[in-house]
Symmetry: C2
Subunit: 525 residues, 2 copies
Amino acid sequence: MADAGKSIADQIKEQGEIVRKLKAEKAGIDKITEEVSKLLALKAQQGSDKDEKSSGKFVLKTAKGTRDFNPRQMVIRQQAFDKIIACFKRHGAETLDTPVFELKEVLTGKYGEDSKLIYDLADQGGEILSLRYDLTVPFARFLAMNKVGSIKRYQLGKVYRRDNPAMTKGRFREFFQCDFDIAGPTDPMIPDVECVRVVTEILDSLDLSEHIVKINHRKILDGLFEACGVPDTQFRAICSSVDKLDKSPWEEVRKEMTDEKGLAPEKADQIGQYVLRSGQDDLVEQLLADPKLSLSKSAIEGLEALKLFFRYAELYGVKKRVKFDMSLARGLDYYTGIIYEAVLTSILYIFLYIKRQSYFISIFLLDQNPEEGVGSIAGGGRYDNLVALFDPKAKAVPCVGVSIGIERILAILENREANLKLRTVETQVYVAAAQKNLLEERMKICAELWDKEIKTEMSYKANPKLLGQLQTCEEQGIPWAIIIGQSELEKGVVKLRHVPSRQEEEIERSKLTDVLKHKLNASIV
Amino acid sequence: MADAGKSIADQIKEQGEIVRKLKAEKAGIDKITEEVSKLLALKAQQGSDKDEKSSGKFVLKTAKGTRDFNPRQMVIRQQAFDKIIACFKRHGAETLDTPVFELKEVLTGKYGEDSKLIYDLADQGGEILSLRYDLTVPFARFLAMNKVGSIKRYQLGKVYRRDNPAMTKGRFREFFQCDFDIAGPTDPMIPDVECVRVVTEILDSLDLSEHIVKINHRKILDGLFEACGVPDTQFRAICSSVDKLDKSPWEEVRKEMTDEKGLAPEKADQIGQYVLRSGQDDLVEQLLADPKLSLSKSAIEGLEALKLFFRYAELYGVKKRVKFDMSLARGLDYYTGIIYEAVLTSILYIFLYIKRQSYFISIFLLDQNPEEGVGSIAGGGRYDNLVALFDPKAKAVPCVGVSIGIERILAILENREANLKLRTVETQVYVAAAQKNLLEERMKICAELWDKEIKTEMSYKANPKLLGQLQTCEEQGIPWAIIIGQSELEKGVVKLRHVPSRQEEEIERSKLTDVLKHKLNASIV
């Protein structure tokens, strides 16, 4: 918009200078890459202005931080989705869908420091829009808009974050979230623990059983900050420092609290005595007896909630998966109660990554503490006040939910299945010709089989070679081939070939579809 | 961007003036609505700046031209998708996925006059991006990028168009396309006719058998313009006028050609002698013998292609669905051969619309010629040069494909099923308590059933009333309820209730999951 008056050539010149300056300054590689691709985009635009036919030739790529899924990846993705959806349905959830963009104001003020990562649409005259950042805020907007007071819903959809992509770290700008949320009044902690059960069921069904679910409670964090003398106004800022403990050592986090956020060193040290602790209900009991924490009403409430949580987790058979981790904070503004984060714990996956994508080595070994797992693959929590923000009468609908991020899971599954032969098409029958001039007969047979809902293909050549047709069947794993020839047709028969065994038999042309239906029902194709 | 320096208050003032001016001018309602919502968005932004907590309260809506799908609509949508995907798989297609946005240059120069409808993302520092306008151009980009020379692929995804008119016409700004494309070298017209077969199979499977597929050929249109003396440089412009014949009478289209586009009246009249004609292979034969058209090499090529098309269409059993319509032009730049458009023809659907959504009456009766159907629900064609635009060596991959738009189809299905009871959850068993203090026992039973992959729910209240629990089962159509009571548990039994018949039996607690598994396998749930 601001550049509307400038020529492309001028813009290219300016952009070129920006890039040169960044390189001279030895700026971060991400920043340089970003500005370079902007430059290339401008050059491409110039090219397309000059010669429309050449447009697009300059940068043949997907947008930064995004990727295509090829047919093989789609098969793996769909298998994972099927398992995830099966679990959501097992827990009685129904599904809904919301648009990929929302009025910007819907997203405003919901994501704390992460708001800067929201993608905005250009102002082309009309509403001010942004791409959705998660599925939770649109869900809350849906509940308020439709006055839904109680629902269990799942939703699979893409969300968008202008994060500095590290696709090698499994961090994308466009990625899927698979959400499960329980909205409506309930007795305490019953749905909260079901969300953890849902996560573990899904990860188990994907054979990712080496995982734990870290939990914490916003009221415990608030109580802790209160007990350590952090001023109310600094809760959020200190909370977001604590959240960095999964990636940075305590010394660095402490430094950020004192130097950047101006917290008194002795207060930071007091926080440090708590946030490095983790355990199970034993830790809950210790903290309930802690002389400092037990003075905070908020902390006691949070701890009592977790006590109940562990009781229920045992009944739901998931207690062994749960770790109460006092450093878990999660950046989003809207959480009010329990918060979760699931991480994979097996070091095995690190080696799987190494095997196929060698650049993963350094990242995981540098970034991750192996005992702590290879990173978060699910997160969530309770957000009792979010719906009220959208309701004209500020009517609250208590909600709790969890979101499974599948990008890392898919990377693991793709590696695991790298050597498996996966069919990307489901074709059951291939209609082949043994001689020339049989195209019309092949077309008639295809139409008959399609009429009977048999998955059928044939060559798009008018006169294909038989060998090539049979090769296609073998390569594609198509189990049955019908081979037609002039003399057989005159006799009223066709040849049916079982591709894996290469056995052939003659069958009557008029009984073709019946015979095939029978064979396809008998075999598992 | 241009407004970055202005205060919100100033922007609101300016926007208010725009709205007042439009109202004074009696501008179109769409335009006014758009500017008003922009004003409301600004006011909301002002509100959220003042008080973060109140953000979102001003305009509780989805973005213009978009909508949510509620659980009931999702069930209907999923049933339609399942049928569509089954057909695509029946024809041997595999699937892939591309990001929702592309580099803007990927889309530039592909959509002719419609390019103005592309949604751009804001320039937030980085690449220049746009939301995808269809699935075809990203598919071509995928083929070039991955050097795929031959593939049959389907893709279901949302696309985005800043089209003005409204949802009452079934025209959305965010809507689904279900695409099927055959890429790679083939003998003439074999895949082209399969695309029509795919469309009719899908519409038949959705019980929308009252449809026709209009076809035309770019080479016939080009030959026609040539034969009528239209200068080369005006082909596109005249083509886009012809395309309006499905909505406007010839007189208006002629006026546009002569007055707006400067075509000589006698040339327009010559065009008019052709473009109002429609038929089948009989019309192809007439035109092949036409003294004027037969002088054009391009026209002859196109007509010969359609002759072959009709021959194959007969073999594929779809000839009766096809109408050769010389006014079919389609606006997109990238078509090079056959073009298609499927329309529903039954007037019945108009009354279905009327019944439930009365505002549809005027639109269909005003806008549509009933004999011509209630509007386009699928379109496509051959685009042999699109992939080459993306390939660094301009390597061409011939492609033909079709795109099913499901918004109108869904409206029809939703109306048709308006009085049907549709289950939106699939829960098989509800675990109920007859007395207080049985929460933990209910939780244990739920965990056991989930372990056995039985779809199970229970109340989220600690001590729910039995009547309420049974009512939930009946309302939700849950077929089985387990009812536990203290005395039964002590005896080692639970009650199993068949909800539809209200019959109850006692079964051993220890055999519960086995008995249920057996009953669920026996019944169709």
